[in-house]
């Protein structure tokens, strides 16, 4: 079974991230991803970027992944 740490690693391998946090129980996962690559991109494009990092795994081992995708600036605003 895929773990939250596996997913964190898969995303980190495919996307330059400032930070990634993943929590989950093996079936449903929640990720908060902060990346400069998200600048100027819509939410759809950001999620598509993460999905492309995960590749075929989204069709197979990962059943459900909730995401919040933030730029470093948005992250600071939300947690300043």
């Amino acid at each position: 079974m895929v773990s939250a740490e596996d997913i964190r690693r898969y995303i980190a391998e495919g996307l330059q991230c400032d930070s990634i946090e993943v929590e989950g129980d093996g079936h449903h996962f929640e990720a908060v991803i902060v990346s400069g690559e998200f600048s100027g991109k819509s939410r759809i494009e950001r999620h598509q970027r993460v999905y492309s990092a995960l590749g075929d795994r989204m069709a197979g081992e990962i059943h459900a992944l909730s995401m919040r995708t933030l730029t470093p600036e948005e992250w600071r605003e939300a947690h300043g």
Binding site: R43, I44, H47, A64, S66
Partner: protein, 107 residues
């Protein structure tokens, strides 16, 4: 007609289309239920919902069509708006209500 043509016809022939697991009345996945709920909360009750559990070809085809690997998916005026997370964020910020306001079900 290929499955991609069928999907194109659905999303361009209907202002609001929700691809989901189950139906708005009987959703079979929590994410699909949440998507149907935010539509209702925005006053949109008349829309095309496609139960992908009953349409395996569409279930596969829709993932390619919008380059989006998960269900639910909401299309408005032919454009992919998002899945469950994006709909929730857009609902919370009021963006979804603004987008859907012209498409509200009268009455």
């Amino acid at each position: 007609m290929s499955i991609q043509d069928t999907i194109r016809a659905q999303v361009t022939g209907n202002p609001v289309v929700l691809y989901m697991k189950g139906t708005p009345q009987f959703p079979q996945c929590g994410f699909s239920a949440a998507a149907a709920q935010v539509l209702k909360a925005c006053g949109v009750t008349q829309y095309l919902s496609v139960n992908v559990l009953e349409n395996p070809e569409i279930r596969d085809g829709i993932k390619q069509y919008g380059n989006w690997p998960t269900i639910p998916q909401l299309y408005v005026n032919g454009k992919l708006v998002g899945g469950a997370d994006i709909l929730r964020e857009m609902y919370a910020s009021g963006e979804l209500a603004r987008l859907l306001d012209p498409l509200k079900t009268p009455g």
